[in-house]
Amino acid sequence: MAEGEFALVRKYLEIALNKMASWVGEHDLYAMLADAAAQQRDESALQHYAPLAEELAARYDHKLYQAIAHRAWGVAHWLTGQHTESETLLNKALELFQQLDTRWQIGRTLFELGELALSRSENTAAHEHFSRALDAFEEIGALPDAARARQKLAAV
């Protein structure tokens, strides 16, 4: 997603925050804002939205959003060089996604783990994560993500 598109997503979601339909909660929106910020590697947005997403997901005991919040924090820590914290949180997210059996989310979290391993020059671990991510993406038919995973595997 390009920078401009993320800005657009943020714009829409922030409008949505003010005009929520009855069946859309703020926890839905903050989870998505945090997730979008993680995808964009937008550190300041992550610092803003990840805590809110985490708090609301915990309040509602919403497992999916808790996992998304963990992943968002994992990316935030990675961006600030806190690799150990990042790995812990990404693994927590992965565990929750696996419990929920949400394949695309599993693939995306494995991909982030691969990125983290790459940045720590742990190529074997990175290869392992990207391979598993590729399997998850292929299983669900997420072709763009699968292509990205293949690219990474080739680079590793």
Partner: protein
């Protein structure tokens, strides 16, 4: 010569006489009769090189390269139809043949308004079994007639809505009937030599003069309609200015371009709710007899509810299950829209509502709905629908419902308005010239114009009054105008009408006056039963009135029906009757209707009220109100109940209480709580003075509280807050010492909701206290409906306090309760299933939510509640999306698309689809199907922004 003829074309138009009546009398045979009729016509036309370019219901429109072929096709058809064995349901077909210019347009339709409208009018003037031919065709065929066939010269006739008279011939076919009644809906152009014609018969009426500009505007509107841009056309003006006449011209234009015109009439004396719509539905069913079979049963059931006369024909169609008022009203409206959409897909459609200032609010609201939908549908369906309404500007102050709807249509730019003004002097001269078929004198023009100020109906009535008074006479082949200084011209239109009626014999005047009591349209039987005159005398009276052009027979409505030629005539006669005499006349009419049409509750309520028969006025007004409520026409119900209340006497407190509660209930439904509350209060006061138990009073307290939190206007909420508080305190005090009972539970639940609904700040502590008390009492009672209501109040508190897990538990408990046999309301059960699913979704329990949502969908499908079906599908899609089950998300789209295909104009489909389509766009994007994703995303945006939505709404609903 198989191609569609163009240039000089001979048209043959046909129509079955009395097809509506035949279809009603022989419902089992009708389809087979039609098929045989169609086969005969098709064979005769095609075997003579004819081209059938349109079949509208039972009417065939065929074009021929030569007049001889058209003639032979007509002869062959009539012979075959005559010899066919129809048993007790003979099919008689009238036919018209005319030759004129016509070209084929790009869309394959004929362009040649004059030729097409002439053949249409010619055919309409005939009777079953008769073939009429224009002079133009006669000149082409008279030398080559088939053996034995002759042409009978019928003379010149002024056909309805045609400017110039037509010379007409009738085909005389060997061994077939050749003598028919006088041509229909026509005025013979009286030859100057015809000594038998009366002067009144000599004047040419009904021609449109001086409206070229307005007609061009209306035509433009029609052209846009047939291009697929649904329109509403509003024609206004003062009484007598010629609105109906003008509209007929437009309708002729529409018919000539292949449109179906469906008319609904409104009368000053009122009628059943949606009566004009019922007429329209009946018309559609009669013109498209196979169409009802293609409709889903629940749509058919709604249409029958609007037109109860169809009930007997579709006895096996069960009424739809009851749901909440708003949903059901919307569904009924949508069912009519679906019907119109289906007709307009076959042929352009005009819905015409004459005298809309007298229309009931339900009918008007439905037409507004239709106008909105036809515009909204532009994105998807090219709806060829023109809604045309005429109304009096001067009545607008009193016609509140119409006024509101006009404002809406204008604000939303859904309508074109044409205001007809009086004729200027030059146009008045044109009108007089046309009427008398000769130039008028300046003196006569001056006098007529001075007194009538160019009101066309006034002009016509004054001229007739002068003729009847012998002041304007015809002799030696010309008109003799009086000197305007010598004649007394009636000073007003009403006086002109009175003058003309007074020239009739006394018995005819009496009959007309009694007819005016019945209304603008009246039937012979009711008049006969109400009148002192015997049948022969009454017939004589009506014939005299018809000769004086005050009334006319109405064709095609079953039975012998008559109508005053203008609404001002009965109004004038009515106003001229003294109070006592008027009451007596209403009583006689009411008794006649009661004997003849005991289910005409609205008519009986009207006449018994006018007769001041309190008992029957109350009885029938209540029945009329109940019927209106059953059709969700609450304004009508309110009107009837107010009339009933006016007749209740002081010694009937119990009856007054019942009526007050019923009336307040209806006001509450239309969010007029501020009017409902004083009525409930009055009922409470009356109950205090009676021996009634406290449960009724508790119920009334609860209804006041509910009315208070349902009010729409902030100012009303604030103004009535002290009343609501007072009632709350009184109610709480009353229930303090009561043993547990259902009314107490509902009152406490209502008080709980009142603590937060419509309030700033919201008092959640009180809301929780009363909800918990309600739950406690309900649990003691152990009745599922009460426990569910109390829990629902408590759940709102949990939601506000962020106790979402607790909310889930409560919803699951309500779900369990709803499985009790005493819980009979399926709609409520679906709602509880949906709530259970939605609350689970809220906390991310998607897998647990799905079974409830699937059950809700199944039930919604069973009771055909499209709205709930779509709502549930939307949440299902959300669930599956969150669970990364993309294939199932796409499957839900397939379900939704199927619904859209069946109901293309269902607004809720549009609204829900915006979310649904956006969700699917996201799934396709995740799969890398970018073109599909982009297309779906654009579709979603177009749906929302293109209907009534905004970019902001689009953003809100499409954050995916």
């Amino acid at each position: 010569m198989n191609s569609l003829p163009t240039g000089t074309v001979t048209f043959l138009f046909t129509d079955i006489e009395g097809s509506t009546k035949l279809a009603q009398e022989h419902p089992d045979k009708w389809e087979s009769l039609r098929e045989r009729h169609h086969a005969i016509l098709k064979s005769a036309i095609e075997s003579h090189n004819g081209y059938i370019f349109q079949i509208i219901g039972d009417a065939f429109c065929a074009a021929f390269h030569t007049a001889g072929d058209a003639l032979r096709a007509a002869v062959k058809s009539q012979v075959d139809l005559h010899h066919e064995n129809w048993d007790d349901a003979p099919i008689k077909v009238r036919m018209g043949i005319h030759t004129g210019k016509a070209e084929i347009k790009d869309d394959g339709q004929y362009q040649g308004y004059i030729s097409l409208s002439r053949v249409q009018r010619l055919m309409s003037a005939g009777h079953g079994g008769q073939v009429l031919m224009s002079l133009a065709t006669q000149e082409l065929v008279h030398d080559g007639l088939p053996e034995g066939v002759e042409l009978r010269d019928m003379g010149e006739w002024q056909l309805k809505d045609l400017i110039r008279p037509m010379h007409i011939y009738q085909l005389v076919i060997p061994e077939l009937p050749a003598d028919f009644s006088p041509l229909r809906s026509t005025l013979a152009v009286i030859s100057p030599d015809d000594q038998g014609a009366s002067p009144l018969e000599r004047i040419v009426r009904g021609k449109l003069v001086g409206r070229e500009r307005e007609l061009a505007e209306a035509n433009l509107c029609w052209q846009r309609t047939i291009a697929g841009e649904g329109q509403a056309l509003l024609i206004s003006g003062e009484p007598g200015v010629g609105k109906t006449r003008f509209t007929r011209e437009l309708l002729t234009l529409a018919i000539s371009s292949g449109a179906i015109v469906l008319s609904g009439e409104c009368y000053a004396e009122g009628g059943a709710p949606y009566a004009p719509i019922a007429q329209i539905i009946q018309d559609v069913f009669s013109q498209f007899p196979t169409l009802p079979d293609t409709l889903p049963t629940y749509i058919l059931a709604d249409l029958i509810a609007l037109a109860p006369v169809l009930r007997a024909r579709y006895a096996d169609v069960q009424p739809n299950p009851l749901m909440d008022n708003q949903t059901e009203q919307e569904r009924i409206h949508d069912s009519l829209i679906e019907l119109c959409t289906r007709v307009s897909l076959r042929t352009p459609l005009v819905l015409f509502l004459d005298d809309a200032h007298w229309a009931d609010p339900g009918t008007l609201s439905l037409l507004r709905h239709l106008a909105r939908r036809s515009r909204a549908a532009l994105q998807k369906t090219r709806l060829r629908l023109l809604i045309t309404m005429t109304y009096r500007e001067v009545e607008l102050d009193e016609a509140r419902a119409l006024n509101e709807i006009l404002l809406d249509l204008n604000r939303e730019r859904l309508a074109t308005r044409i205001k007809l003004t009086r004729l200027n002097k030059e146009r008045t001269r044109d009108m007089l010239t046309v009427m008398f078929a000769e130039e008028t004198t300046p003196d006569f023009l001056e006098g007529i114009y001075r007194e009538t100020e160019g009101n066309p109906f006034f002009i016509e009535e004054v001229c007739k009054a002068l003729i009847e008074a012998g002041k304007l006479s015809y002799s030696d082949g010309r008109w003799h105008h009086p000197s305007m200084d010598e004649v007394e011209i009636p000073q007003s239109l009403r006086l002109a009408i009175q003058t003309r009626v007074s020239r009739l014999q006394t018995h005819a005047q009496e009959a007309l006056t009694l007819a005016a009591i019945i209304g603008r349209e009246f039937d012979f039987e009711t008049l006969l039963r109400s009148s002192d005159q015997d049948e022969d005398r009454l017939i004589e009276s009506l014939e005299a009135a018809a000769r004086s052009q005050l009334i006319e027979e109405v064709k095609g409505k079953g039975g012998e029906k008559y109508s005053f030629v203008h609404a001002l005539i009965p109004t004038t006669l009515y106003e001229g009757i003294s109070g006592r005499r008027r009451r007596r006349a209403h009583e006689r009419v009411a008794n006649a209707i009661e004997a003849l049409y005991p289910n005409d509750f609205e008519g009986l309520a009207h006449h018994f009220a006018a007769a001041e028969d309190a008992g029957k006025a109350i009885e029938y007004s209540r029945r009329a109100a109940e019927r209106a409520e059953s059709l969700y026409s609450y304004d009508e119900a309110i009107r009837h109940l107010r009339i009933a209340l006016d007749f209740v006497e002081s010694h009937q407190p119990e009856l007054r209480c019942e009526l007050l509660e019923q009336l307040a209930g209806d006001l509450n439904v239309i969010h007029a709580g501020s009017e409902a509350i004083p009525l409930y209060q009055e009922a409470i006061t009356l109950r205090h003075g009676s021996d009634q138990g406290s449960h009724e009073t508790i119920r009334l307290y609860r209804k006041i509280i509910e009315a208070a939190y349902r009010m729409n206007r902030r100012a009303d909420v604030q103004r009535l807050e002290p009343v609501a508080q007072e009632i709350k305190e009184a109610g709480l005090k009353l229930v303090e010492d009561q043993p547990p009972n259902a009314e107490t539970v509902h009152l406490l639940a209502a008080i709980s909701r009142h603590a937060w609904l419509n309030r700033t700040p919201q008092d959640w502590d009180s809301a929780e206290r009363y909800a918990r008390r309600a739950v406690e009492i309900a649990e003691q009672l152990g009745t599922p409906i009460e426990i569910s209501d109390a829990l629902s109040a408590l759940n709102s508190v949990y939601g506000a306090r962020g106790l979402f897990r607790e909310r889930v538990d409560v919803e699951l408990r309500r779900l369990e309760l709803s499985r009790d046999a005493r819980f009979t309301d399926t709609h409520k059960r679906i709602n509880i299933l949906y709530e259970a699913g939605a609350t689970l979704v809220y906390v991310g329990e998607y897998a647990k939510a799905m079974p409830h949502l699937l059950e809700a969908e199944k039930l919604a499908l069973q009771i055909q509640d499209l709205d709930q079906q779509l709502t549930v599908l939307r949440v299902q899609a959300h669930c599956l999306y969150q669970m990364d089950q993309w294939d199932r998300v796409i499957k839900i789209e397939e379900k939704w698309r199927a619904l859209e295909k069946r109901y293309p104009n269902f607004f809720k489909v549009v609204s829900a689809s915006c979310f649904q389509v956006a969700l699917n766009a996201s799934v396709h994007a995740r799969r890398g199907e970018m073109e599909q994703a982009a297309a779906l995303r654009e579709e979603s945006r177009a749906i929302m922004v293109g209907t009534d939505g905004t970019e902001e709404q689009f953003a809100r609903d499409n954050y995916y």
